[in-house]
């Protein structure tokens, strides 16, 4: 199902013409209204008139996460304060959060792209949407809420936490759609089982999961434990929140709503644009945002783009599932390690739960990678040797995947903290960034 047929199925040529026209207007606006962008363009010797063709995009300077920090809280906004009707903020791991602003027009755009997102996932006005994304400063809760209302579905604004109550209401209200982080979906299934409830027997038929990295194996696990179709979504607050891209029913990549968000993939090291099909860092330029436009924002997410037509009828470019983060990437003994690789290995080992913690430490000068894995009844059978063999198997598989040795430590079930928001997979105890 397609929510906005004209925009989601327009020819690539028409789309590029629309993008160029919107890009020219956006660059002219930030040049006039945002001192930060004016200065950056002037440093490059650029004026808005320099943007004549689509390729002129590549002349524009990049914007980074640190630019939000340096202009905290609202230094990058392009409208006077009285036009701003909403603020959100993303959880900063260190220091100040990233604050993002919306005009009434932005909230309308956001509701539209979220309506497209939910429709692509198969949601209609006949659905009951259990929204367990956090309501508040986090964009997830309200983003989904407005989109689901725009579609006309019945929304249950659960937010996070109070998991047992969520399971009760989910059953009592006959929810058909679950919206939350993938790790919380698994936590819900686990908690339900403890309560003697099998969520496969609930009315849930589709789940829309995002806001943290997850693998295909985790998708299979969620689908089998909850008895629903798991749809991947992507978004980030610096661009708008959820509603940037979503999988259609063919689940062959995530369609980006390019009439609002112009996407590129660049080499993370050099910033050079990369051709379709080549993996690199995803970069966005907002084309219609009013309060907080961004020009060539470096997301830090690793993916590739595919502009081939999709069987669903959408002409919008598809991004592959995010395969890592340029900044979450761990460099251990000089080797690049993505937490998603470790998750993939664990899900391949029979009986091992996808609950894990990665601990990186530095013993004198040598980096030490340790992976904690929870033991389940499926793998435990009274003997030490069996467990040591399991440790050995995981260790060997990790070495194959990562190219470096990792220590494996088996821990008791549920001893690894379950997150009700984004899962914290990595603890880096090395003091490699400090003075």
């Amino acid at each position: 199902m397609i929510w906005d047929v004209p925009h989601e199925t327009m020819s690539r040529a028409d789309l590029q013409a629309l993008q160029l026209q919107r890009l020219q207007a956006q660059v002219a606006r930030v040049y006039e209204k945002v001192p930060f962008y004016r200065q950056k363009l002037m440093e490059q010797g650029l004026t808005p008139q320099a943007i004549r063709s689509y390729e002129d995009l590549y002349k524009l300077p990049f914007t980074y996460k640190r630019d939000f920090r340096d202009n905290y809280p609202l230094g990058l906004t392009a409208v006077p304060k009285e036009q701003i009707v909403r603020l959100h903020a993303s959880s900063g791991t260190t220091g100040k959060p990233t604050v993002v602003a919306y005009t009434a027009g932005d909230i309308d755009t956001w509701s539209e792209v979220m309506a497209r997102t939910l429709t692509a996932a198969g949601v209609t006005k006949h659905d009951v949407v259990h929204n367990a994304y956090g309501y508040g400063l986090f964009t997830g809760g309200l983003g989904f809420h407005y989109g689901a209302e725009r579609v006309g579905a019945m929304v249950i604004p659960m937010s996070g936490g109070a998991t047992k109550r969520q399971i009760m209401l989910l059953q009592d209200l006959g929810s058909t759609v679950l919206c939350c982080t993938p790790s919380y979906a698994l936590f819900l299934a686990e908690t339900a089982l403890e309560m003697g409830v099998d969520l496969r027997e609930s009315s849930l038929r589709v789940g829309i999961f995002g806001a943290e990295p997850w693998t295909q194996r985790m998708r299979a696990e969620i689908e089998s434990k909850l008895g629903l179709k798991a749809i991947d979504i992507y978004g980030l607050s610096e661009v708008i929140g959820p509603g940037v891209s979503v999988e259609c029913e063919y689940q062959a990549g995530l369609h980006i709503f390019e009439d609002h968000f112009l996407a590129e993939v660049v080499d993370p090291a050099t910033g050079e644009p990369l051709p379709y099909g080549t993996r690199g860092e995803l970069v966005f330029t907002t084309l219609t945002k009013e309060a907080l436009p961004v020009i060539r924002y470096r997301t830090g997410d690793i993916t590739s783009l595919n502009a081939e037509p999709c069987a669903c009828g959408r002409t919008l470019v598809r991004m592959e599932k995010i395969s890592g983060r340029t900044d979450d990437m761990l460099i251990v003994r000089g080797i690049n390690v993505f937490p998603s690789q470790i998750e993939t290995v664990l899900l391949q080992v029979e009986g091992v739960q996808p609950h894990y913690q990665i601990i990186v430490d530095r013993q004198r000068t040598l980096d030490d990678l340790e992976v904690w894995v929870e033991v389940s009844e499926e793998v435990f059978a009274d003997d030490i040797r069996g467990l040591q063999a399991l440790e050995g198997r995981i260790r060997d598989e990790l070495r194959n995947m990562l190219g470096i040795a990792a220590r494996v430590k088996l821990v008791e079930p549920k001893s690894i903290q379950r997150s009700e928001g984004k899962a914290k997979r990595v603890i880096d105890r090395r003091e490699v960034y400090g003075s």
Binding site: V375, S376, E377, F380, A381, D382, D383, I384, L387, Q388, K409, L410, V411, E412, P413, K414, S415
Partner: protein, 134 residues
């Protein structure tokens, strides 16, 4: 004769064994024998208890990984050489391998009870029965 043993996975750090015993105590389960085997990071605690099913339920409710295993239970005279002549020698002669064993004595009797995990339960059982009979 056979007996059912409980095996519990525990991390090898202070307080975990105490936690296990608190759970059993709260469930009014009495311990007959306990043995701990350890590796660097984890341990397996093996227990013979008064009510295996009640203990298993309590442990699983507490979120611990616990399984039951069938083991051999043999009584021997509580005298020097009792274990050697009563159990270990006959099993060795019969080619049965002992994977692990632990013992306790039941007062006020004069006998000790030995718990054994062997690679061939049936054979070991026969060997020890013949020995007791002959």
């Amino acid at each position: 004769m056979r007996d059912t043993q409980l095996s519990v996975f525990l991390e090898n750090r202070p307080g975990r064994l105490a936690h296990l015993l608190q759970v059993l105590s709260a469930a009014q389960v009495n311990l007959r024998a306990l043995s701990v085997a350890d590796s660097a990071d984890f341990g397996v605690v093996r227990l013979i208890v008064s009510d295996t099913q009640a203990a298993l339920r309590a442990l699983q409710e507490a979120g611990l990984v616990a399984v039951t295993t069938t083991v051999l239970r043999a009584e021997i005279p509580d005298v020097p050489g009792g274990m050697l002549h009563g159990i270990v020698e006959p099993l060795a002669e019969a080619g049965v391998n002992i994977e692990y064993t632990y013992a306790y004595s039941e007062r006020p009797s004069e006998r000790a009870v030995v718990v054994l995990k062997v690679d061939d339960l049936e054979k070991a059982e026969k060997v020890l029965e013949q020995r007791a009979g002959g």
